[in-house]
Symmetry: C2
Subunit: 459 residues, 2 copies
């Protein structure tokens, strides 16, 4: 791999203390590559490499993982650090500051030039996961009465160092956003045309309090590379660029997937979470589920006499309850994702209910038939001995599976709706959560069905 060759080469240069060659090798790297490469080194080596970086220092820093950033911070002079952080783009700076421990972040903020500090504090004052947190005030604005030629001249004067020039914003003197305008459109336009005539009619904009998932949805829907953010009165505050949104999409999907698996969101790569943090984030849910699952022992205890009289019943307990759990996991994963992508909304619940109930009946009927066949075949072929009433046991298993699968599909599909209605993240209804719910209920269903079918024979 190219990456590993590069790391090897740098290690050799580092060992021979060839600072000049190291500096040159690092200067040739894209900031994203440089930060990735530095990530392969031990903390003290990483700091040496970081110091040898040239003008890209601030950009490379923004790409580093939080621990590596702290490592750099610890070993860099405060004044130099402040200079570097003030060179970062405002949205990158917000990202860095919000991931650092509060004390470190505050110390850094205090050393920034006044205007940078003001900007950063403004962005950090937005609640997490809202549009305000992801925006940058670094955009180019033109006035509605400008011609294309004037606007282009304005871009030439003001454009340097802006987050993006791909989209230009037409803003009134009072700060109200009028339209957005692609730079490409401006370049192609007749120089005398008015900018408001070049822009596509109907601007898509976000309010600063828009939640991150809605931001993502709008970017996807309208296929934009940047969207403007305004306050409630339509006054332009900043822009969000698509690269940040791509990160949001990945983070959101990661969080949902981890929650679906029954883990509290890690909020960092697997390798960068400390062992005890990881154990805590997994152990918390595991313990809650374990306590819930203890109800199975209570339920089983309730049917202890039935088990003692017909041990054959116990044999199928894992088969039946796990099938319910599986159908619940399936339903939960489908519904959670559909809700996240806005394919389904709260008011669709009844339609989903009907569909999942029907799915449960069909799937339960099918699995039950396989279970029935398995019991009858094993008995007839002599692989197992389920007693003289094996046919009744097989029917019990079949009917129980129908009931348990219906309960599974309904729990898995309805819990996300219910959690959302209660103000929780639908993804909280993890596969293990649904499975636990279905395990307990599944046992009750199974033993109730058994009590009806087997009364007077086995029970």
């Amino acid at each position: 791999m190219v990456e590993h060759e590069r790391v090897g080469e740098l290690k050799t240069l580092l060992a021979s203390r060839d600072w000049h060659a190291l500096r040159r090798a690092l200067a040739d790297l894209h900031p994203a590559d440089a930060s990735e490469t530095i990530g392969f080194f031990e903390p003290d080596e990483a700091v040496v490499l970081f110091r040898l970086l040239g003008r890209h220092k601030a950009e490379v820093f923004a790409y580093l993982a939080p621990e590596q950033q702290q490592n750099v911070i610890r070993s860099t002079e405060p004044a130099q650090l402040a200079r570097m952080v003030s060179q970062m783009s405002p949205d990158d700076r917000t990202r860095v500051l919000e991931e650092l421990p509060a004390t470190v972040a505050h110390a850094l903020l205090g050393r920034l030039p006044a205007s940078d500090m003001k900007h950063s504090l403004a962005l950090l004052s937005y609640p997490e996961n809202t549009a305000g947190r992801y925006m940058t005030p670094n955009y180019v604005a033109v006035r509605p009465d400008m011609s294309a030629a004037e606007a282009l001249a304005h871009v030439r004067r003001e454009g340097k160092g802006k987050e993006t020039l791909n989209v230009i914003y037409i803003v009134e003197r009072d700060g109200k956003l009028v339209e957005d305008l692609r730079l490409g459109g401006l370049v192609l336009a007749d120089p005398d045309a008015k900018v408001t005539d070049i822009a596509d009619p109907g601007v898509v904009s976000l309010i600063d309090s828009t939640p991150a998932e809605e931001v993502l949805h709008l970017f996807e829907k309208y296929d934009r590379v940047a969207l403007p953010v305004t306050d409630g009165d339509g006054r332009m505050l900043g822009i969000i660029t698509v690269d940040d949104v791509l990160d949001v999409a990945e983070e959101q999907a990661t969080k949902d997937m981890q929650m679906l698996g029954g883990v509290e969101a890690l909020d960092a790569p697997y390798d960068e979470v400390s062992f005890w943090d990881m154990v805590r984030k997994r152990g918390g849910w595991l313990a809650v589920l374990f306590v819930g699952e203890m109800l199975t022992a209570t339920a089983m205890g309730f049917f202890e006499h039935e088990i003692a009289r017909a041990v054959v019943l116990a044999l199928f307990v894992p088969l039946i309850i796990s099938s319910g759990g599986n159908s619940g996991s399936q339903a939960a994963s489908l519904i959670i994702r559909a809700l996240a992508l806005k394919e389904l909304t709260n008011r669709d619940w009844l339609r989903v209910f009907r569909r999942e109930l029907l799915s449960g009946l069909v799937l339960g009927g099918g699995l039950g038939a396989i279970g029935f066949a398995r019991i009858v075949l094993w008995q007839r072929l002599g692989f197992a001995n389920y007693g003289e009433h094996y046919l009744l046991v097989a029917i019990t298993v079949w009917l129980s599976l129908i009931g348990v699968l219906c309960f599974g599909t309904l729990s898995g599909s309805m819990l996300p709706f219910i959690l959302r209605r209660l103000g929780f993240d639908p993804a909280t209804s993890s596969a293990p959560f649904v499975a636990t719910l279905v395990d307990v209920t599944g046992l009750v269903i199974y033993f109730q069905v058994a009590a009806h079918i087997l009364r007077g024979t086995l029970l």
Copy 2:
């Protein structure tokens, strides 16, 4: 909601057959909004609305869901249809053609102008989920010897109708890609500067066979709005834009999440998959898991005598095996996602193995302690009667949980690596799959531990 007001308004206009007002109302909508709105109507109404669309027809069509597209295709004259499809951008056209049934797609292709047909066939000839499938040949290229002013004049001449003008490509006469260049950079540059001096050194490009997930990774890493695609010799073939990549990110996350939940990827929104397709995609995996889970009945049968002698053992079966399944779901969801995001690679397996083994020991020890306390407390408080050897039973549960959780975390974390090694998608190791594996093994662990601890007392 604005959307529903809009739909209501259009329904009223449609009922009063006010074609003129309908046409005007539709013309004002962004293509994404128009297609979303049309999606709320019955098929025959949707076709009427679609016919009333003005110049945006092709764009709106590209946004429609596949069924709605087929609905429109069925009710549109072939010549008109071909005209519309040829107006679409090449990448949108690929997307539409690949989602249509093959016969419909071929009929459409046959009616396209020769050059469009050639382009489309070329793009469709790339394997699914490779860079070639997502690219468009609609970009602006300039020669390396041009000055900024010449390049800008070239953009003005050639730029109309291109997929994006945000990035311009410097291409040699023989088609070799030299650099890419942001339009913003070109606008800001000294008019006499050579284009090769304006471009950032070091172009990031993709080969046409690059898999979609790698494309996504590169866009994330380098924060680009477009990346060039070349053949193996570095000759420019087309570009991929970030809006398509955002869709890829969502699709990939959806697929992984559905697979994690134990469902074959639906490849369409929940609501748009027919009931029987959905049952098939869920039933297949459920049946496989059910057959695997039958081994639990075999395992339980193997320990039938132990259960008959000590019914108390059966009570804790669901608790123990489900805890193993939960820890496996957690591990699987973490590792699958970390592999998808390239936070982990194949060679990290040993490190993950050690970490997960340790997690299993710690988590199992903790849950086991809770289980031990529960049994002892319930016995002492008189909530349950687990017999005179309840302490031994409690120890059995504790030790079994340590074993089962270790097996759970290891199965959940190692299966994704193994599957990937074997050429499968790591996400195939779904939560239900891991749970089933752990259920069967968990039973064996539990009864083995019981046999050792309880020999001579209960057993």
